[in-house]
């Protein structure tokens, strides 16, 4: 039986900009089960990190309005005070960030940084030391004793990311949030780190919220996928469904823009235009349709129901345009040769 770990309902986030609140995240619904990897995919500005920060309680309460409900193991997170959040952050929720160099303290030895994350015991105790060594071994650092005495600058990018993962795992969290965990790494190191996260997740049966803009990473890691555009989820599906049977025009456009399987003689599909600005987001429409030049205004401006439409039990899509959406025949850029 699947155990629900994180349950987010109608989560909206608005930032105060020049005295007015602008919606950056609009009514996001998603849930993560224990042992599940859920990927949140989208381009910069789509709101995926905004959602993660709401789960971690990292928004500045004076500048941000967070509404809706986020439940972790049935405990409501929205509305908690900073102190109450401390009970979850780093304890039930572990975090892995994109840039380990700026997330690690440059003046502190690796071992001490991991020990700091272990909340229960006195830092110097033998027990904590052993636990630090074990965590380093868990993330594939064989030379744990030496590494725990080193400083972040002495380690390579891949090693630093392993240390970050060790810190995230320190208290055996139920949920791990990985925000672009491999974006700054070389391809071979990326593969190693992804394999490591996967192994640990299987061993600990944790849930993972994986935030990425890289569809390849999604295909390698995720069980289910949520595609985000302009602060909303536009498609929600199992990973097989999403890649084999993508529906929403945005998802299909992204997959088409990927160069890896395109014949070098053909042009890539470039999505025209840009993501609308925060103060220009009318979330009652499907905002992506503005970027499909061949759709008429009626279709683009049609109001869209807030509920995602069901394709099948593993697959939900925003709006109705997906039912009839076709790409125009590729324009011939070769003009006359």
């Amino acid at each position: 039986m699947k155990e629900k770990l994180l349950d987010a309902k109608d989560v909206s986030v608005a930032f105060k900009i020049a005295g007015e609140y602008q919606t950056a995240l609009h009514k996001v619904n998603l849930s993560i089960n224990r042992g599940e990897v859920l990927a949140l995919v989208g381009e910069s500005g789509s709101g995926k990190s905004t959602f993660a920060m709401s789960v971690m309680g990292l928004h500045n309460p004076e500048q941000t309005q967070v509404t809706g409900s986020i439940k972790l193991n049935d405990n409501e997170l929205i509305g908690l005070t900073e102190r109450q959040f401390d009970k979850y952050r780093g304890v039930s929720v572990g975090m892995i960030f994109q840039d380990p160099l700026s997330s690690l303290n440059p003046l502190m030895k690796i071992g001490d940084q991991i020990a700091e994350a272990i909340t229960v015991h006195d830092k110097q105790s033998k027990e904590v030391k052993n636990r630090v060594q074990q965590l380093l071994l868990d993330v594939g650092i064989v030379d744990a004793k030496r590494v725990s005495q080193q400083y972040p600058h002495e380690l390579s990018g891949g090693m630093r990311q392993r240390v970050m993962i060790a810190i995230a795992l320190a208290n055996e969290p139920d949920l791990i949030i990985a925000d672009e965990p491999t974006t700054a790494l070389d391809a071979t190191i990326q593969a190693q780190i992804l394999d490591l996260i996967k192994e640990i997740q299987l061993k600990k049966n944790a849930g993972i919220l994986l935030i990425t803009h890289d569809l390849g990473v999604v295909a390698e890691m995720a069980d289910s996928v949520n595609v985000m555009y302009a602060g909303q989820i536009v498609e929600q599906a199992s990973v097989e469904e999403l890649f084999n049977n993508p529906k929403h025009p945005y998802t299909r456009s992204l997959l088409r823009a990927d160069p890896s399987d395109v014949n070098p003689g053909e042009d890539l599909y470039a999505i025209p235009g840009t993501v609308p600005a925060l103060n220009d987001m009318d979330h009652s429409k499907d905002l992506f349709l503005q970027r499909v030049p061949w759709l008429n205004d009626e279709v683009v401006n049609a109001p869209v129901s807030e509920e995602l439409q069901k394709v099948n039990a593993q697959h939900y899509v925003r709006g109705n345009v997906w039912k009839t959406f076709e790409f125009e025949e590729p324009v011939n850029n070769e003009e006359q040769v």
């Binding site: 593969a191 390849g216 295909a219 990927d258 042009d267 999505i271």
Partner: protein, 329 residues
């Protein structure tokens, strides 16, 4: 096909100084004896992980780095040292596009001033893309005219001319960088990770655009990247670099269909695939390659102190070269 640039036995060493007299005690071999040829109108891919020396090659080519030894020939003329580059005004023919469009555009200059800069140094050629040498004019009116033309080529409106870099998105800034590189009618553009900071949809715009200017103006690219998906789409020939050495060199088909060096295989196996059904199989294969790489290093590398040094390249087919002791046979 005609040869545009030939690089022969290029070495770039950085001295390591130590001891009381601060003498040179060792060298860091950033680029260690590499040779390759870029054909006119083609794209040459340089692939490797961070620290492999690919950017150093790019920098030597445009003159931001003085090679320790070896030769760079541009249409048969030697341009290895910066002095030689200046003598034939080589820098108007070879331009560079950088990875980070934010830091490679001066934030206090307008886009018009940024694009005009190379035109002021080298003059305005008669026509974009045509008659590479030719008459060049230094008149201000000509400069302004050309800047507008260039903005039009990269698809930006005329009002851009008086705007500043921060007013643009990453993709637009990257196109501004390309416009600047195009200004002097270069024959070769060194593009160092030009799209790795961009989102997928914007990346597609920039890549399409690079292909278009290549078609229209027969420009060659040296395309430096760690992203093999992009490289496969963009290039005709590829060199795979590791620790300052070429480990494999060939046409794009040679590298993708017939990789022979373990390091190439390792890079290829690390590309995430969009085919979900292959996920487990790929993971197993990746582990296998990784094990082969760590356990059989003597087969693939000479030991050079602590660093792995690839063997010299051996010819396998007419176009395909591999750094194995006896060609891998």
């Amino acid at each position: 096909m005609s040869e545009l640039v030939r690089i022969e036995n290029l070495k770039v060493y950085y001295p390591v100084r130590s001891g009381f007299f601060n003498r040179i005690t060792d060298n860091i071999k950033a680029v260690d004896d590499v040779s390759f040829t870029i054909e006119a109108g083609q794209t040459y891919g340089l692939v490797g992980e961070s620290g492999s020396g690919k950017t150093t090659i790019g920098k030597s080519l445009v003159g931001l780095e003085n090679p320790t030894s070896g030769k760079i020939l541009f249409e048969g003329q030697e341009v290895t040292q910066i002095k030689q580059k200046k003598a034939i005004n080589y820098n108007k023919d070879v331009q560079m596009v950088f990875q980070d469009s934010q830091s490679s555009l001066n934030p206090r200059k307008t886009i018009g001033e940024i694009i005009a800069e190379p035109l002021k140094s080298f003059g305005v050629p008669n026509k974009i893309g045509a008659g590479y040498g030719g008459e060049r004019s230094f008149e201000q009116s000509k400069v302004d005219e050309r800047v507008l033309e260039l903005l039009d080529i990269v698809g930006l409106p005329a009002r851009t001319i008086s705007q500043y870099p921060f007013q643009f998105s990453g993709g637009q800034r990257q196109r501004i960088g390309v416009a600047r590189a195009l200004a002097t009618n270069p024959r070769l553009i060194v593009a160092d990770e030009p799209v790795s900071a961009l989102d997928l949809s914007v990346q597609a715009q920039v890549l399409n655009f690079m292909k278009k200017i290549q078609r229209d103006y027969a420009i060659s690219f040296l395309f430096i990247s760690h992203d093999l998906g992009v490289v496969k789409y963009m290039t005709n020939n590829i060199a795979i670099m590791h620790n300052g050495r070429f480990v494999e060199l060939g046409t794009t088909e040679d590298i993708f269909n017939d990789a022979s060096h373990i390091y190439t295989k390792r890079l290829l196996s690390a590309i995430p695939s969009l085919d979900v059904s292959q996920r487990e199989a790929k993971r197993v294969y990746r582990k296998k390659v990784e094990a082969e790489f760590t356990q059989h290093q003597d087969t693939y590398y000479q030991q050079d102190g602590k660093r792995l040094r690839a063997y010299d390249l051996q010819q396998v087919t007419k176009t395909h070269f591999v750094a194995l002791e006896n060609g891998g046979v």
